[in-house]
Each structure stands twice: as structure tokens, then as C-alpha cells.
Amino acid sequence: MANPLNQPRRKCAQSTTFLAAVFLSLLSSAAFSQSRDTLPSPLLLKALSLEELMNIEVTSVSKKSEKLREAPSAVQVITQQDIRHSGARTLAEALRLAPNLQVAQVNSSQWAISARGFNNVLANKLLVMIDGRTVYTPLYAGVFWDVQNVLLEDVERIEVISGPGGSLWGANAVNGVINIITKRSSDTKGLYAQAATGSNGQALGSIRYGGQLAKGLSYRVFGSGYKLGNAIDTNGLEANDKWWMINGGFRLDWEGSKKDKLTLQQNIYYGKPNPDAADTSAIIARGDNILAKWNHIISEKADYQLQAYYDHTWRDFRNGFTEDLKTYDIEWQNRYQIDRRHELTYGLDFRLMDHTVTNLELFAFLPAHKRLYLYSLFLQDEIMLIKERLRFTAGLKMEHNSYTGFEYQPDVRLTWTPTETQTVWTAVSRAVRTPARIDRDFYLFLTPDLPFVSGSDNFRSENVMSYQLGWRLRPRKNLSISLSSFYNVYDNIRSVEPGPAPFNIPITFSNGVEGKAYGMELAATYQLASWWNLRGGYTFVKKELSVKPGSKDMNEASAESDDPKHQFLLQSSMNISKHFEAGAVLRYSSKLPDPYVASYAGLDVRIGWNIGKSLQLNIVGQHLLKNRHVEFIASPPKFRQIQRSIYGSIAFRL
């Protein structure tokens, strides 16, 4: 440790040799197993607990991927298996497993996450939902990742759609949608407890118990928490941004009949993230939410869903500034098949966001209290042009918001399935990012009467016209490949405009940036053998933005974002025997242009050891290739480096 310069290189060589060894020596055995079916081996099945056995979908492999294969969008799925084998500790870490996302850790608690570029800690073109609840702060139209915690063991899957989802999901889904779906409580019966500790003072713990209260009525209660260690600051010292977070809740599921399903779930959290590494006072972030959902199947041809939630989130920045947001949302969705050709889906949504801040003398959102109303209607018709071969989907979302009034987000898609094993799709969509409070209501004063920065009532919605072409194929039963390409034309992207001469203040926000972005995403999943799964992808994004005539954007059309052009991901998950599991995730990100961040490769390795059916020991190493590295610089010239992490965990299932 005395010489930090020598350390990384030696470790790097060692780790890569290790990985190469794993891959090469298993290659020979894999060659044998290729020809056979990709079903779990008897040894593995026997090693599973009753609960785990009851969670295996009987027809999953073909049916689910069939649906995925036909989906006319660039959707990637992170499964529970993928998460478990990766050793991810938090939701944000699990999102690193999506080949079509840009995920960068800024410091111990802050993340920059986006799809198809425009990444920043304040990234605002991605819609994120946890079990149907939109996770979004109208403060900056983005996500506070430090409070989005779920018990990863109880996540069923994470769907990541890159590309606009505006017509179905609503505003903010300009560049992508993340859908985090947790298991039904009927699938989480029994006890699960996990405790972990490791380098850098980190500690994790979670506990869940589930069972059945009556016929068709199941429940789970859970709690989890973690403490994560320091990043390294610009001077090479521990940054003191270590932090902790706890959350807990319950979920009730009632399958009243074959036609009705009811869900009620609640989550409460409390955390003290400390992104500024303040010595005395970390941020206090707390919140709670409750969601109820009712699904009713009318017939094979029609069903509806009614969902309502309340979400309260509160954040004290400990400098006098606080944010309080209460969201009330109710939505209705109805699908029915009109005839053999048409399937109609429509939905209504109403949302109230009651947003209150406590302002500082010179830092303010005005008015301090604002009610934001949002109501929307969406309509989608899926038309089968040629039975099982050619589908045309047309959708439109009309949405009314408190800042800009009506917004329209249309979407048309064509899906051609020439053979059983492949689908070609194309889509043309428009999506918008409606103004957030930061665009309209934000003020920074030099003196109580002299604004330096001032929000602008003229700020309009940012928008994109997106043209996509994709190809999904499954050349073999155990191999699926997805290739999507996009050409996005952006307009009215946020610019920062200098004020009137002579002092050029107040600085305001405007829509002075336009341009295009294009790229492609290649992703594949390869089940080499029943016990060995490989998945990964390559993503290329190129942005060409420019300042519109009349604008004097002080950011020179950077759109405050910093994206890698090339990204690469490879995950290997192996169930080596009844007792041993081994997983590795290798990822690469090319350099970020401005602020400059060097390209980097990261390697995570997990070794799991099952003792009997109830006990599992894990050793996980994260960022093994380097002692420390920078992933994203949010406030240059200061930056933080993420440290290598090693932890051991013990998990108990009963």
C-alpha cells in the first residue's frame, strides 16, 4: 500500500490471469455440453430449497424469451439470477448489468444513470419505476438513486428499455424506461436473512419473512440496510462520504379468484447520504410509500388494472434547505381485443405532486410551495396485418402538466416476424421531457435583491423524434441476440443563457440546444450449458449537439452531460456444482469527453458456496482491476475515486 502506483498494475495482471483461467479451462467441457438441452442439471435442482424450486417457471425459457423476442423495442432484462451471480449490493449496482444503460458511480452515494447518453447526476431523460410507482423528483426531473433501495433477493427482474417510452409510460421516458419488478409475495415464502461485511467499513444486512395468511392471501415483511465506505477525494485521501441507509416494508398479495389479483405494498426508508463529505452533517433522506393494485381479467380478450399510490419523500440538506414531496397517483388501464386483428389498450392517469422546499436566503425555488398536476390519456391499437407475421402498433399519449399544458407523444411501430426465431422491428416516436422546478422556479441570488441565476417562465419541454430499427434473433435454443440502432433528433434541449449586459446576469435557462444522437446496442445471452450462462453487450452512442441560432449557451451545447462512446459488458454466471457458484462481470467504458474521465475496465467476481440447503457463503470482489478509479466527474475540478471493494456474506434461507 506504500506505493499506490505499483499496486494496481500487479493486481491487474493477477486478476486477468484468474479470469482467463476460469474461461479457458471450462471451454473444453462447454464444448461437450453445447448440443444438449439447456435444462438445469439434477444436481443443481436438488440443491435448491423448496421455495426456490417453487419459483422456477415451467415454461419460462421458451415462453418468456419468445415474448421478449417479439417485443418491438430495445428491451433488456436483468433477472434475479443475474443479480445474484453479480454480487451487486445496491439497486444502482444491479443496473450496471444492463448493457444498454450508462451507469457511473460519482462518489460513495451518488450515481449518474442514463440510456442512450445525456448522462449526469441530474440526468432527466430516463423514467424509473419500482413496481409501477414512478420514482422521480420534480426538483430536477431525475432520480435520487441513494434512496431507491429494494431487497435485491426479492427482485424478480429489471426491465430496461432504451429508447422513447413516452406513448406508453409518459413524460421523462425520452431516452429510456427502467422497470423494477419485485416478486409476488406467494413466491417469497419463508425466511431469508443475509449479513455481509468487508473492506472499507462496509456492512450489509437484510431479512425477510413471508408466508400465507389464508387461501390465496400471502404476505412478506422485510427490512434491509447497508453502510458503504468512503471514496477517495481529489487529494488522494479518504473523502469521508461514507453513508448508510435502511428500509423496510411489507407486501400483501391476494389471488381472490383466477380473475382477480390484489396487491398492497409499503416501503419506508431512512438514510444519511453524504455526497459532499461534510464533516458534521450528512443529508437526511427519509420517505415512505404505499401502493395498491387491482388486476381483473374479464375474459381471455380483455382485462383491466387499477392502481393507486401515495409516495412521500423528504430530504434535509442540513444547510437549511429541505425538500418535501408528496405524490398522489391513480391510474387505470384497460386492454381488450376488438376482433382478430385489433387489440386496443387505453389508460388514464392522474397525479398530484405537492412539492415544498425550505429556501435559503440566496438559494431558492420560488414559489416555495407548488402543486403540480398531471393528467394523461393514452391509447394504443395493435393491429395484426398478417397473422403472426406482421404487426402494426400505433399509440398516442396526451398529457397535461402544470408548466406547459398539453403535450403529445405519438409512437408507431412495425413488427415483422419472418420466421419463428427472428423479429425485425422499426419504430418512430416522439417523446418529451417536461420542465422541472429547476428549469422554471430556481433562483440563486448574489444579494437578496440581485439574482445571479433565475429560472425562466419561457422554458418549454425538451423533445425528441426517434427513429429506431432493431433485429432480435434466436439462432439456437440457447442463444438470443438483439441488435438495435437509433437515430434521435433532439430539439429544445436545455441551455444556459447569459443575462443582459453589462454584467450578463441573471443567468437563465432556455431551450437553445438542438442536435442528434445515433448509435447501436448489441446484446446477447448465451446459455452455454445448464450450469453456465453468458450475457453481455456492446453499446455505441454518438451525440452531435449544437447551439441554436439566437442562443448563447454557456455550456456550449454539452447539455451538461458526459457520455462514453463505447461500452462493453460481459457477465458469466456458473453453477459449478451443488455447492459452488462462480460469477464474474467485466465491463468497459471508453473515455468521457468533458469533464475528461479516462476509459476504464472493471471486474467483479463472486464465489458462492452452498452448505446444505439453507446456508450460503459468498465472497465478492468489486472493481478488482484497480485500487481506485474515477467513473464520473459531477463538479469539476473536484472528483472522487471509487475504491476496490471486497466483502464476504452469509445468507440463510429457511
Binding site: 467441457s29 435442482l45 436438488k46 424450486l53 419459483n55 415451467v58 450450469w531
Partner: protein, 189 residues
């Protein structure tokens, strides 16, 4: 550190080779659908989570028999699952019966039989002989059966009738009962 990695690695390599051999021998035979693979594993699990009365075994080393009557949906898969497995000193084995009259000596009995009269007779006979009866038939528990597999949300689940188990003097572990749906059909006269 290096040494540790090396050791782990050698150990794993051995396992991988061994796994390959054990798997290929199973594959030489036809493998059933995943549904029946899972059910086979459940049947094996049932042997581990059930306590039989002492008099169902004549000696300490007598095998614990999983019997299949009628059509066998498992192929040879069930055998590969139980091979080498024990239950309290009793090796677990699989036997196939053409005729249910021969099935009196088994401990777990799986069957799928269409004729309700015949089904009823098997259930009654098995209950008297402390046999855990398992089936997929929809009416199985109503007819006095003990464990019934069903599929819900594309996953294999099972229902258990505790009364029926009690009649056969079988004790099921709470681990098994917790994940099962407990169904008590009205008594049949």
C-alpha cells in the same frame, strides 16, 4: 492470495470434469420436460421432509421406496435424482409397478390414473399402509389423497391435506407445510 486462488481453482476444475461425466450419463437417457424434472425433485424432497411410523421399515437399512404406478412421466430422471441419496440410513430407491396391488411396500406413491374407482382403491390401500400418496389429479385431495401438484403462474406448487396424512400416521415437516397450500376437503363417507 495467489495460492488461495490456485487451490480454489484446482478444486473447481475437478468438480467441473466430474459434473460433465455425471451429466452426460443422465443425458444418454431421455430427459423429461422441466415440469416433471421439478416434480421428481419435489418427490425426493418429500422423502426428506416426511416422518414415517417406525413400523413402516422392517430394518434400519431397508430402502425407502418411491413407487410409480401406471404411466411413468419421469423417464429415468427420478432414479438419477435419488441415486446415492439416503433418508435416516435408508437408501432412497425408485420402483415401478404395473399393478397397484404390488405397491404395498413403498413409502411414497406417485400415480396418474384416469379411472376414479381404481384411484379410490389405491388411495384407500395406501393410507392403510402408511404410504404418502402424490398425484396431479384435480380431484385427488377430495378423494382422500395427500399431496397434489398444481401449476400456478407457470410455477409448480402443491396442496397438502393434513387430515389424510394424519390418517396414514405420517408427519410432515413444517418446512414442507409452510410452502404448501393446506387444503382440507370435507370428509368422505
Amino acid at each position: 492470495m495467489k495460492k488461495l486462488i490456485k487451490n480454489i481453482w484446482i478444486c473447481r476444475y475437478r468438480i467441473a470434469i466430474w459434473l460433465l461425466f455425471s451429466q452426460s450419463s443422465v443425458l444418454a437417457q431421455s430427459t423429461p420436460e422441466l415440469e416433471y424434472q421439478l416434480k421428481a425433485v419435489f418427490l425426493f424432497n418429500f422423502t426428506q421432509f416426511t416422518e414415517w411410523p417406525a413400523d413402516s421399515f422392517h430394518s434400519d437399512s431397508e430402502p425407502l421406496v418411491i413407487g410409480i404406478v401406471g404411466e411413468n412421466p419421469f423417464g429415468a430422471y427420478l432414479e438419477s435424482i435419488v441415486s446415492g441419496e439416503m433418508k435416516g440410513g435408508h437408501p432412497v430407491v425408485v420402483k415401478y409397478y404395473k399393478d397397484e396391488e404390488d405397491a404395498g411396500t413403498c413409502h411414497v406413491l406417485f400415480f396418474h390414473i384416469k379411472d376414479p374407482q381404481r384411484r379410490k382403491e389405491i388411495i384407500e390401500g395406501a393410507t392403510d399402509k402408511n404410504i404418502l400418496t402424490v398425484s396431479d389429479d384435480a380431484a385427488f385431495l377430495k378423494e382422500g389423497g395427500m399431496v397434489r401438484f398444481f401449476t400456478s403462474s407457470n410455477k409448480i406448487k402443491f396442496q397438502i391435506s393434513l387430515n389424510a396424512c394424519k390418517k396414514a400416521r405420517l408427519e410432515l415437516s413444517s418446512k414442507l407445510l409452510r410452502v404448501a397450500d393446506i387444503i382440507e376437503p370435507p370428509e368422505i363417507k
